[in-house]
């Protein structure tokens, strides 16, 4: 197991290297000049200030040199400073990361809390009314974009029922309930989309497992149906579900960019979106890099979970 973990971590090195190249190149290839963004519209015709700013930001150097300098600093934990706010990028990211992690975690919990029971019910009662309702729910969840679901939820729970705040984030330090109130709607918007895919996967996977001979044997032994599902079928059905959840983590982080903007949420997603708008490329590079690392870490966690769920899987 330890060897497997080390090997997987070593695989990370070329992957992260590629990620840094892609992140750097994409951000540098975006249309619009960061020096102009930084100077502000009042100084765009000031050629002296413009050249000075390009020099200050290192934009006067060849692209490979800029990349090597950036990578060298990044390896030492220095992701530079925001060209707009002068805040250290690492500090900005560390301030935002907990907010996004909390949002993603609650969204994931909501998704699983709905997807697993509904998927089980749907699989154990195929082609019934319950299954049809679940299918409609899942298809709607996949078809409706997260931002649209978000706006619908705002109108329903914030404007109509006045139960929850329409936007903004209340830190945990203020209190658990205010914090939860501020997180429910954005997490629900993200979670419903994730839930739909997961629910379909639970249903399909469980339906397949329930056809297996060992399940028939378990039933023949007279075990109650609940135990058959819980003890024999579900664990095996979860392996492809875990794969799907692992793959959805990337989408979840991508979704935070839109949802955090709609809900005026001070997380990594909105930081990334704002940094695109303001061409704050050190922040954008840092935000995308951290998100890429988070996705890689989640994929590793997914692989490790396989061994926990299915003891037959052993990593040598």
């Amino acid at each position: 197991m330890a060897r497997y973990l080390v090997r997987r971590l070593l695989y990370f090195v070329p992957v992260i290297f590629l990620v840094t190249v892609v992140v750097f190149l994409i951000t540098m290839m975006l249309p619009g000049d960061p020096a102009l963004a930084f100077l502000g519209e009042a100084n765009i015709h000031d050629k002296v200030a413009y050249e000075a700013m390009r020099k200050e930001l290192g934009l006067d150097r060849p692209l490979p040199v800029q990349y090597v300098i950036w990578l060298g600093r990044a390896l030492q934990g220095d992701l530079g400073r925001s060209v707009r706010t002068h805040e250290a990028v690492l500090d900005a990211l560390l301030a935002r990361l907990p907010v996004t992690i909390e949002l993603a975690a609650v969204a994931l919990l909501i998704a699983l809390a709905i997807a697993i029971p509904v998927g089980i019910i749907s699989a154990t009662r195929p082609n019934t009314k319950v299954d049809s309702v679940a299918t409609v729910m899942a298809v709607s969840g996949v078809a409706l974009p997260e931002f649209f679901v978000g706006i619908l939820l705002i109108y329903l729970f914030a404007v109509g029922l006045k139960l929850l705040p329409p936007s903004g984030y209340t830190p945990l330090s203020v209190g658990i309930w205010p914090n939860l109130k501020s997180i429910i709607l954005p997490a629900l918007s993200l979670g419903l989309a994730l839930n739909a895919v997961t629910m379909r996967q639970v249903r399909a996977s469980l339906l397949e497992v329930l056809q297996e001979e060992y399940v028939t044997v378990a039933r023949a032994k007279g075990l109650p149906e609940g135990e058959v599902i819980r003890l024999h079928a579900l664990k095996n059905a979860m392996i492809p579900v875990i794969t799907v959840i692992g793959l959805q983590i990337g989408r979840l982080f991508g979704g935070t960019v839109v949802i955090e903007t709609i809900f005026a949420y001070p997380g990594m997603g909105r930081l990334a979106a704002d940094s695109i708008f303001f061409r704050d490329f050190p922040v954008l590079q840092g935000a995308v890099l951290v998100m890429a690392l988070a996705v890689l870490a989640c994929n590793l966690l997914t692989d490790l979970l396989y061994a926990y769920v299915d003891p037959r899987i052993r990593y040598a």
Partner: protein, 539 residues
């Protein structure tokens, strides 16, 4: 020599005021009068936290460097020497009053002497005096990243004559200096604590600002919110005789999506929302819980067209004239103005500004004239051009509208919708034929000298980079002239040349509207920036 007191004790007459600072008289709507009404002491309720919404984010807490000087938190934390105040809700007259300056005088055309308030302290306990004011003025003039330096470039010297006397001398006569100092988007002199800057350094100060304003800095979550708390030692008193502000604190939240911020407002989690989208104004006015502060003196002009005059076809004045006569402003206002926009005919000037004269040609919509002008210019079968706009609303919609109008009269227009910074790149490189941007002619109402940056060769807001030495000369002359009548004639000539030589096209003027919940009392706007220092929340 003239002398003015900056306190509320003396109000300049309209004639006197126009002579000094050329501030316009523009009628206000009833709701603004209601919001800004002087309160009776018994009606005031102290305490509470006001949450406001803004459309723009703060790049830094250093107000000298910030390119977003109009954001309301700066006015909360920092005081300026002078500021604008709505003098008459019926006529819409503004006046310049002192904040840190108690009074001022102008012994000659180049010199301004300010008497500063005594006993004012910054939030860190350090004193505000003439030496600190001098340091602030010089920093704003000389700092390489100063967003005010262009407006203070004419300052030759700043002298602290004694602890409460500040003398500012200009290299040349400077007529518009006071309005420039008072205006957010020009040279507003937010005073910061030198002691705090020395202690924290520039980067530290930019995240932990110290001013002398009615609110103290508490927390800034970048791109999310800035939270300010009451300064109990503020130097201005409220109507109840105790120090302002009435509120315990104020939070300004940055909400980029106007739909969400309006929902927040309706739900009660926001109490003030600046610059609501035009399309939402009618529904806000219909909401019994909401009110609006309409600012017709501070409108946005949508569709300000510029032309690349270095290349055909717009190097030909006849084609430019054809283009400006090809814009149906009445139609545009009806179709895109949501009932509140009006046609705008005079680029960079608006009613109430010196130089504004409706007897000058309006370059009105005239399809027959467009065709005749194109024929005369050598394009009898019409001309094909490219119009570059920023890819956002309302630019896209207005761009499509103009594309249709121009194409119908023989100017076959290809609309190129570009990402904002790419558009700026294209402007800098003069890689365009026609372009359009939004802007406000409000600066002309403050003083046409402020419009200099928009109409002279190389001006920082002269997006299309058109250049006319005659206009440069006139703008220079207008800035130095003391006689108001002469100034009016000078700026009128600028406007006449702009119209005759068709340097700029215009579209519609949309008044700015700030919305607030009805429990908010005493809200004011400082020109158009929400001012909550004397606001309170009704029970």
């Amino acid at each position: 020599m003239s002398k003015h007191t900056g306190s509320n004790s003396r109000v300049m007459t309209r004639r006197e005021f126009l002579a000094r600072s050329a501030i316009a008289t523009i009628p206000l709507v009833a709701s603004s009068a209601r919001a800004g009404q002087a309160p009776t002491p018994a009606a005031i309720r102290r305490g509470g936290m006001l949450v406001g919404g803004i459309n723009w984010t703060y790049p830094t807490m250093d107000p000298h460097i910030s390119t977003m000087a109009g954001l309301p938190a700066y006015d909360g934390m920092f005081d300026a020497l002078v500021r604008f105040e709505l003098a008459d809700a019926k006529t819409g007259q503004h006046r310049i009053v002192g904040r840190l300056a108690e009074s001022w005088e102008q012994p000659d055309a180049r010199t301004y002497i300010f008497k500063l308030k005594r006993g004012v302290k910054f939030h860190d306990g350090s004193d505000f005096d003439a030496e600190v004011a001098r340091w602030n003025m010089l920093r704003m003039r000389d700092h390489p990243k100063s967003a005010r330096k262009n407006y203070l470039a004419s300052v030759e010297s700043v002298e602290a004559r004694d602890r409460s006397t500040l003398v500012i001398r200009h290299k040349v006569a400077r007529t518009s200096f006071l309005p420039v100092l008072a205006y957010h988007f020009a040279g507003r002199t937010h005073m910061i604590s030198k002691a705090a800057m020395d202690k924290l350094g520039e980067e530290g100060f930019a995240r932990n600002p110290v001013g002398s304003g009615p609110f103290k800095f508490k927390q800034w979550i970048t791109d999310d919110r800035i939270i300010l708390e009451r300064n109990p030692d503020y130097h201005e008193a409220g109507a109840d005789g105790k120090p302002l502000p009435y509120l315990d604190g104020v939070a300004w939240r940055y909400i980029p999506d106007p739909t969400v911020s309006l929902v927040d407002m309706r739900a009660g989690s926001l109490q003030v929302l600046e610059w609501v989208p035009t399309k939402d104004v009618a529904s806000i006015k219909a909401d019994p819980n909401l009110a609006t502060y309409d600012m017709p003196w501070a409108g946005q002009v949508y569709f300000q067209a510029g032309f690349n005059m270095d290349a055909p076809p717009f190097n030909n004045v006849l084609v430019r004239r054809a283009a400006v006569h090809g814009i149906d402003r009445e139609g545009m206002a009806k179709a895109l103005g949501f009932g509140i926009a009006v046609p705008h005919y005079y680029p960079k000037f608006m009613s109430g500004a010196l130089g504004y004269d409706e007897s000058l040609p309006k370059n009105e919509y005239d399809p027959g004239k467009v065709k005749a002008l194109l024929k005369e210019a050598g394009y009898p079968d019409g001309v094909s051009i490219e119009l570059k706009v920023i890819a956002r609303e309302p630019e896209n919609t207005i761009g499509e509208f103009v594309q249709q109008m121009w194409t119908n009269v023989g100017i076959k227009t290809k609309l190129v919708s570009m990402e904002r910074l790419s558009w700026i790149d294209a402007m800098r490189a003069k890689n365009f034929q026609a372009c359009f941007w939004r802007g406000t002619p409000g600066g002309a109402v403050v003083d046409p000298d402020i419009q200099k940056a928009r109409v002279i060769c190389g001006g920082e807001f002269n997006w299309a980079q058109w250049c006319d030495p005659e206009i440069d000369r006139l703008m220079e002359e207008g800035g130095k002239t003391l006689d108001t009548k002469k100034r009016h004639e000078t700026y009128r000539e600028v406007l006449r040349l702009i119209q005759e030589r068709a340097y700029l096209g215009t579209g519609i003027l949309v008044p700015l509207v700030t919305a607030y919940r009805r429990e908010v009392q005493g809200l004011r706007v400082d020109f158009w920036v929400p001012d909550v220092r004397a606001a309170w929340l009704r029970a």
